[in-house]
């Protein structure tokens, strides 16, 4: 049995990963996935509707699915289970149970775009600051999600507050950075509400009872409307009703042009390939051209069918639109969107994260019972997680057509990836589960960080002109992030050394020695990568704006790591530090690397101040505080260490080389 444990566990998780390869079955006959795969242009890039939905939901609510509480009749075993366990609340009429259903991103998007009355009941807005909750009339201290309906009474209030804030920040470039937590939360809510409003007007004017028919009427009215308009301009007799109809359509669609969110209507053949437009703009153009864009007709058909709950018609509409795209040489865009939909659906980084956690638990279990099969199982799980991590990383690179690291989000993904490789190599060499735990832990933590970074918007956003060189992104950025990854691995190994040595008796001299060698080796590796990465950054700067070194905060951050590595290595060679001193220095390396990775971005100055994330600031401070405590532990004299108390009597090694020597 034990022998099979690694294989069985790996197989279970592999099956879980593979289960996502097939599109989830629809609960009814609507082929929503097929709709989710359709391409639109947003943020300068082609993406599927599904990505629009995910990114919007993430930025509004921090989650990519919508939970819906619905009364439901639970029959059979489910009903018995419900009444026995009481996990569900009873619905008011006492016969039904309130269960939680999940809306997929695409499902939510379709609803928001075509069934606004339903969408307005979904709890997707967030207010975290107690004062804001108070303003919205909610109970204090209860983390709440709000639906649009919950907020209708407060729309004016929120808007006024937001306007006032914007007014006070006018003309101050750094305005957004000086906001108080309350103001930030308020602006987030305000921005979310605007985004929601725009989404509701993306496929049809909000609440249009039958948009397909509306288009038909509109088409009929264009010609007479234009005649009336020309006549009225020429001062001749014209039909008042025709002109008025035209004017009201004009007003309606003008509004739409300024609200509609994604550029959903593709260019016609002969137009620029990136010339996508939103439906409002296209409708306004139809008015001039006296002809309605064929893609718009298909989209209207789809929207109306969904609004009217007509699954067959909806599926036909989607198929028709796909066909139209294909026959209009837009198959490249179709393919790109399909691939990204697939990427979204398998959620490689989320899956990797879960499996890393499982591996981490097994790794810790191994330290308790030292069963070799547990260690092998953990290793097998890390291999599985690493595979899906790698697939995700490569898939992303393929979708973007870029090297792995293009923004802070992808740097987290990549740092995790690099650290896992290093951890696995260490495990292969040293056994003992240390590399394993380090790999699983950093793999897990970096995915969490990446998840939080993804809340600020599209993670595959287009690159600023100045960053648009694949060669430097592939060299400088990759090398420097590898340096970060190795610094964190070294730091984590040191933490393992400190915690095991200080708190437990499990740090045998052999393990201590092995850890020291690992940390030392990894710091050498980190020195190599940080230095070369920093210099490559300098060369990029020299090539791009003629300045090898400009003392930009991010450059300085990288330099700090290099200097720290140099100090550590020289201190070690000079005998200024021994084992515990080296560990303390490796933990300082964690602090410096986190400052370089995140801290300098929070300064909000310099060329690299992309993604100002003040939300991460308390976390960074907490991290640094925890590291300082560990450093203090590391430099506590050896007689206070659980593992070293009886060192001199028990270990033959200590006779030749006392471990408690200078820090």
């Amino acid at each position: 049995m034990k022998k099979w444990l690694p294989g069985i566990l790996a197989a279970i998780f592999l099956a879980w990963i593979l289960s996502a390869v097939r599109a989830p079955k629809s609960k009814d006959t609507f082929d929503r996935a097929e709709f989710g795969r359709l391409p639109v242009l947003l943020g300068g890039r082609i993406q599927p509707f599904d990505s629009v939905a995910r990114n919007a939901l993430l930025s509004m609510s921090g989650k990519s699915i919508v939970r819906v509480k619905e009364p439901q009749k639970l029959s059979g075993a489910k009903g018995v289970f419900a009444s026995l366990t009481g996990i569900y609340d009873k619905a008011p009429d006492d016969k039904w149970w309130v269960t939680t259903n999940k809306l997929s991103p695409t499902e939510w998007l379709l609803e928001a775009m075509t069934r606004p009355d339903d969408a307005d009941t979904r709890k997707i807005f967030r207010a975290q600051h107690p004062d804001l909750e108070n303003l919205l009339g909610a109970e204090k201290g209860k983390l709440e999600y709000y639906s649009f309906n919950d907020l209708t009474n407060h729309l004016e209030e929120v808007e006024q507050q937001a306007r006032r804030l914007a007014e006070s920040e006018k003309g101050r470039e750094d305005g957004a950075k000086t906001r108080t937590p309350f103001q930030k939360d308020l602006m987030h809510l305000y921005d979310s509400m605007i985004l929601y409003h725009r989404i509701k007007n993306s496929l049809e004017p909000e609440g249009s009872p039958d948009f397909a028919r509306e288009l038909g009427v509109f088409q009929e009215r264009i010609a007479p409307g234009l005649v009336a308009l020309q006549a009225s301009e020429a001062g001749e007799k014209f039909d008042e009703t025709d002109l008025q109809m035209m004017a009201s359509f004009f007003k309606r669609y003008q509004k739409l042009a300024s609200y509609a969110y994604p550029l959903a209507v593709p260019p016609l053949s002969g137009e620029r390939r990136d010339g996508w437009k939103n439906i409002g703009t296209v409708l306004m153009e139809s008015m001039r051209a006296n002809e309605i864009h064929p893609a718009l007709k298909s989209l209207a058909r789809v929207a109306t069918a969904y609004a009217k709950n007509d699954a067959a018609e909806f599926n036909r509409g989607v198929a028709e639109y796909r066909g139209w795209l294909q026959s209009n040489t837009l198959s490249r865009e179709l393919k790109k969107a399909r691939q990204e939909f697939f990427f979204n659906q398998i959620e490689p980084f989320y899956k990797a994260m879960v499996i890393y956690v499982a591996a981490l638990l097994l790794g810790c279990l191994y330290w308790i019972n030292l069963n070799e099969w547990i260690r092998r199982s953990a290793f097998a799980l890390i291999l599985v997680a690493f595979s899906i991590h790698t697939i995700g990383l490569v898939f992303r690179m393929y979708l973007e057509g870029r090297p792995p690291v293009t923004n802070l989000y992808s740097s987290a993904i990549f740092i995790g990836w690099g650290a896992v490789i290093l951890g696995m190599i260490l495990e292969r060499i040293f056994k003992g589960g240390i590399g394993l735990v380090a790999a699983a832990f950093i793999g897990f933590v970096t995915q969490i960080i990446a998840h939080h970074l993804s809340l600020s918007g599209d993670t595959m956003e287009m690159l600023q002109a100045v960053l648009d060189t694949n060669i430097w992104l592939a060299t400088h950025v990759v090398v420097i992030t590898t340096g970060y990854a190795s610094m964190f691995i070294a730091g984590l190994l040191a933490i393992i050394y400190i915690l095991r040595g200080f708190l437990t008796r499990t740090l045998s001299p052999e393990t201590a020695k092995a850890l020291t060698r690992m940390v030392y080796g990894i710091i050498c590796f980190a020195t190599l990568f940080s230095f070369v990465g920093t210099i490559l950054g300098g060369i990029w700067a020299d090539q791009s704006w003629g300045r090898f070194w400009g003392w930009d905060p991010k450059e300085n951050g990288a330099l700090l790591i290099v200097i720290w590595c140099a100090i550590t290595l020289h201190a070690r060679w000079g005998g200024l530090v021994k084992e515990r001193g080296l560990m303390a220095m490796a933990v300082v390396g964690n602090v410096i690397t986190s400052f370089s990775w995140f801290g300098v971005n929070m300064l909000g100055i310099g060329l690299h101040s992309y993604g100002f994330m003040d939300k991460a600031f308390p976390w960074l401070m907490a991290f640094i505080a925890s590291q300082l405590i560990l450093i203090l532990l590391a430099i506590t004299p050896a007689r206070f260490w659980a593992s070293f108390k009886n060192e001199r009597v028990s270990s033959p090694l200590s006779k030749t080389k006392p471990l408690e020597a200078g820090v």
């Binding site: 890039r45 070799e372 210099i535 704006w545 090898f548 300085n556 720290w564 060679w573 310099g606």
Partner: protein
Amino acid sequence: MINRVISFFCSLRLTVALLSLALLLVFIGTLAQVKLGLYTAQSEYFRSLFIFWQPKGASWKIPVFPGGWLLGGLLLINLIAAHAKRFQLTKKKAGIFLIHGGLILLLLGQFLTELFQVESNIRFAEGETRNYSEDSRHNELAVIDVSSPDHDEVVSIPETLLAKGGEIHHPKLPFAIRVKNFFQNSEPAGPMIFAANNIKATEGIGKRLQFSPAPLVATMDDENKPTALLEIVSDKRPIGDWTVSLWLTKFPWNFSLGRKMGTLLGSALTEPQSFEFNGHTYQIALRPIRYYKPYQVTLLEFRHDLYAGTLTPKNFSSKIHLSDRAHGEERDVLIKMNDPLRYAGETFFQAGFDKFNDKITVLQVVKNPAAITPYLACTLVGAGLLTQFLMHLVSFGKKQKSKVSPAAKRSSPGKKIPVAAVAHERRSL
């Protein structure tokens, strides 16, 4: 005694101490940028011997921390001394020497760069021609005698002299210039806004356009725009007051005064201010320091594209015509981001566009005779690090192989970790 000095400068402890100080310096220097801005922080922390502490309002200051020059210099001495003392050409040390040789080159190269690098820029709109570039930080007061039909005579007075105030005399000028008021940063105040300390002149554009002082700016993409009120004096007899301002020369298109004011002032904003004296015509202007070149460039086309449906810049490019009669060069060049023009010892980079007028391209012009050193240094250090790393890896691999017997692999892990000797040997350096 001398031996002790030598061994002090060769010591590894000194290296560690200096590196630690450097670490602190870079850290506080980075934090200081938030308050002081990139440029000021650089000159106070990195391009200095000491960092000084000056109490508010005090005229004295005391050094509190070594600056970049001092630490860099000491590190350089330490490096060279240590290697000079212990130099042995062995295979084992080859990597170490490559690394440190590269570091010495890097430090020297940066030292030379600091001394000799000149950064300037050219900002122009399509159709305009320039035979000079302008310093991006330093300004001058130019007094130009334009009386001669075939050449102009330029007297240039650095901004720092204006900041000092008082009377400025120059042998080539038949009059003195008295600085009546000087704002290191200023903003246009418009005619309807009255404030006691506004600059208002009796002659030129300054009669109609006032300037008020503005707080100093520190961000990287912003700069101070000084304004001065100058009185031209001859034999104690005042000739008149003129306002000179960077607003009038570097940013004449940036007036957030509303359309009405713009039409009112019109071309008066960009026209040079001039006056007659002793039959000569003089123009005065406060402008960025100019570096004249023996050739000229004309902007043919400036493009900056955005990604569809966004405000994210996709690319910038300037198509220019380069004309160098002396060397017979007449050609068009396309300068793009990450794709500069190198000509006559200078490099022209596409830096961006003027933030007030997106029709104006900004080319960064850099002259750096030491530009090659980082490349050499990087190659040396990279090679050294790689050598060292591979040597370790190989020796580590060998040890690992000899230490781990197949039996040890299977035993329980608490005791099974191979007791290998520490992979590195202590090095003298």
